[in-house]
Amino acid sequence: MLSEFRLPALGADMDDGTILEWHIVPGASVKRGDVVAVVETDKGAIDVEIFMDGIVREIVVAPGTRIPVGTVVALIETEDAAAAPVATLAGESGGEGLTPAAAPAPAEEGRREGGSTAAPSDRLKISPAARRRARALDVDVAALHGTGPGGAITVEDVEQARAAPKPSPTPPPPPPPAGAGEGGGMRDAIAAAMSRSKREIPHYYLSTTVDVTATTEWLTAHNAAVPVTQRLLFAALLVKSIALACRELPGFSGFHREGRYEDSPAVHVGVAVALRGGGLVAPAIMDTADKPLTTLMDDFRALVTRARAGRLRASELAAPTIILTSLGEASVDAVFPIIQPPQVAIVGAGAIAERPWVVDGKVVPRQLLTLSLGADHRVTDGRLGAQFLARIAARLLEPASL
């Protein structure tokens, strides 16, 4: 049967995107997880995966078109009843002429990320008055960003667009290098997500200073003994420690949505990556807790490289269940990070530095690291947060067991 493939929301606060290129053509067969298109969003160019198996019947939206989240972009012939809830209905009614438009949209992962509870519509959201005004002023509404309810375009949006220099009527120019544009869409996306976080989430903060001398020594010894390609970064130890602590203590790795918190069954630690052009993204290392350190390190390297090239996968951006943000390179002692909704916790790491420390009653130089936790007070309390930090620290001090 024919299923609709719609533009998914690639992370919180994404309202629309531009398809840059298709990796599929009509007649091609696709499998769940295949990268089928590249979409330009506020977060850069993102590889979009498909979540159904089947044959591509039709590419509905041509490259270069800016479209709202939820727009049908391709039609896929599927065999899978789960991806096509209309199949039963069609059977009962003798399978007569149910058009794709009449079929309920397939359940899409990540759709709720858009922040709106309204069902996505194929149509451009624009008020009747704005549509009429746009016609009168000859404004291209497809290029506008709506500020009304549900992201609808209002008269004011149209009038402001009119006041601004008119965009070129030709097809949009090639997008800037992905991830660039510090002053542009990414800044807006960060602003929206962080404002929402500080507005909605009652953060509490804890920090603890850990003597990681033994761990850094272990790391140095380990790296001296393996080929360059297998060397580990301290961050890899930290990511794994966080993942294991998440598995031990519920309440830090999951999502708070519509007034309810749910622990995520899988732990995907996101790593905040600063981009060279400014801004940052936090893609996930999938199933972090299950991976051996070397695999984790490979994933981590690949992720940073692709993040900086602006070639992240949609699932990697939407997946993190908790994030690590490390400002060690910036030589700060501690970070007090802001949670990325709908997550409920974020771990910060400062620089590892040699400092005076008391061991056995004597002040000695040691390698110290300050770990911090920003957590959602709707979900956990400081006592549990303290245990969580302590478990991360304990794991970190036994690197051989990671």
Binding site: S127, P128, A129, R132, P149, G150, A152, E156
Partner: protein, 330 residues
């Protein structure tokens, strides 16, 4: 009337009845406890002494009987003012009002107009529980042949009865129970009050609040809050619920491009529903946001104060509904 004076809504209604009794010998007041007791809400207190039993008539507790008698008196050339204690009890007289008062003029080819005025208290807010607190205006506003009005201001409370008595059709005047103690300035405009037409109660530019009755004051409270947010709300007081003044509503909505209807009636099948659809029918291309409604919760109005408050279209709910039209922030 000489110069502005501060009086209560109750006093304004009483003055209007007194004036009518003085001006026209055909006018009389009839209803349960309007005489010796002075009216269930003390509106007619003192009028029995002033005008006597012929013109201030206590009736048996039988709504169908005395409303029917009022209709008969109107047919016979009198100008009766019939008081039904609350709209809740008027259901016992519904047959008289809908099948007789509203129809006779039409069924007789215009030979028998029924110039009766029926006053009813309406609405909640005084902890009188479900059987005394409902807002059933929409049911009467549904019926052709009736005029239905609801004064919400002191001037309208003072002036609408005169206009109603001058009208050849049966007129239902709804008086919100919660407004009897409302105090305000009586102005000279009260002498010019018309029976029909909505009125812009407060001028604004960003959103239109369409309302009537006690909710007018909920809307003014909400508009004050919204003004502090930089949202400039216009308030349209319907005044007449049948006929509805589409022109005034639509002129306002065309200006503000957003409408929230605030109605103490229940949402389903409400006046708010009717007004909302008229806005969509006539003003679709002027809208910048979906039409919104704030109505009473769909429960029999509860007795406990906190539950009664929660059931009514409180200013906070109006403010929230308006904010939703401006952003997706929540």
């Amino acid at each position: 009337m000489t110069g502005p004076a501060r009086i209560t809504y109750r006093e304004a209604v009483k003055q209007s009845i007194r004036e009518a009794l003085q001006a026209d010998a055909r006018v009389f007041l009839m209803g349960e406890d309007v005489g010796k007791y002075g009216g269930c809400f003390a509106v007619s207190k003192g009028l029995l002494d002033e005008f006597g039993e012929e013109r201030i008539r206590d009736t048996p507790l039988s709504e169908s009987t005395f409303v029917g008698a009022g209709i008969g008196a109107a047919l016979a050339g009198m100008r009766p003012i019939v008081e039904v204690m609350t709209v809740n009890f008027s259901l016992l007289a519904l047959d008289q009002i809908v099948n007789t008062a509203a129809t006779l003029c039409h069924m007789s080819g215009g030979q028998f107009p029924v110039p009766v005025v029926i006053r009813m208290a309406t609405g909640a807010g005084r902890q009188l529980a479900a059987q005394h607190s409902h807002s059933l205006e929409a049911w009467y506003a549904h019926v052709p042949g009736l005029r239905v009005v609801e004064p919400a201001t002191i001037d309208d409370a003072r002036g609408m009865l005169r206009a109603a008595l001058a009208c050849p059709d049966p007129v239902i005047i709804f008086e919100p129970i919660s407004l009897y103690n409302l105090e305000g300035e009586l102005t000279e405009a009260a002498a010019q009050v018309r029976l029909d037409g909505a009125r812009v109660h407060r001028v604004g530019h960003d959103v239109t609040l369409v309302t009537y009755g006690a909710s007018l004051w909920r809307c003014t409270a909400a508009a004050d809050v919204l003004a502090a947010d930089g949202i400039d709300a216009e308030i349209v007081d319907l005044r007449s619920l049948r006929p509805l003044d589409d022109a005034t509503i639509l002129a306002s909505v065309r200006k503000t491009r957003r409408a929230v209807i605030v109605d103490e009636g229940w949402r389903s099948g409400s006046l708010a529903a009717e007004i909302g659809l008229r806005i969509v029918e006539q003003g679709f291309y002027d809208l910048d946001a979906p039409v919104a409604r704030v109505c009473a919760e769909e429960v029999p109005i509860p007795y406990p104060k906190h539950l009664e408050d929660a059931a009514l279209p409180a200013p906070e709910r109006i403010v929230a509904a308006v904010r939703r039209l401006f952003s997706d922030a929540q």
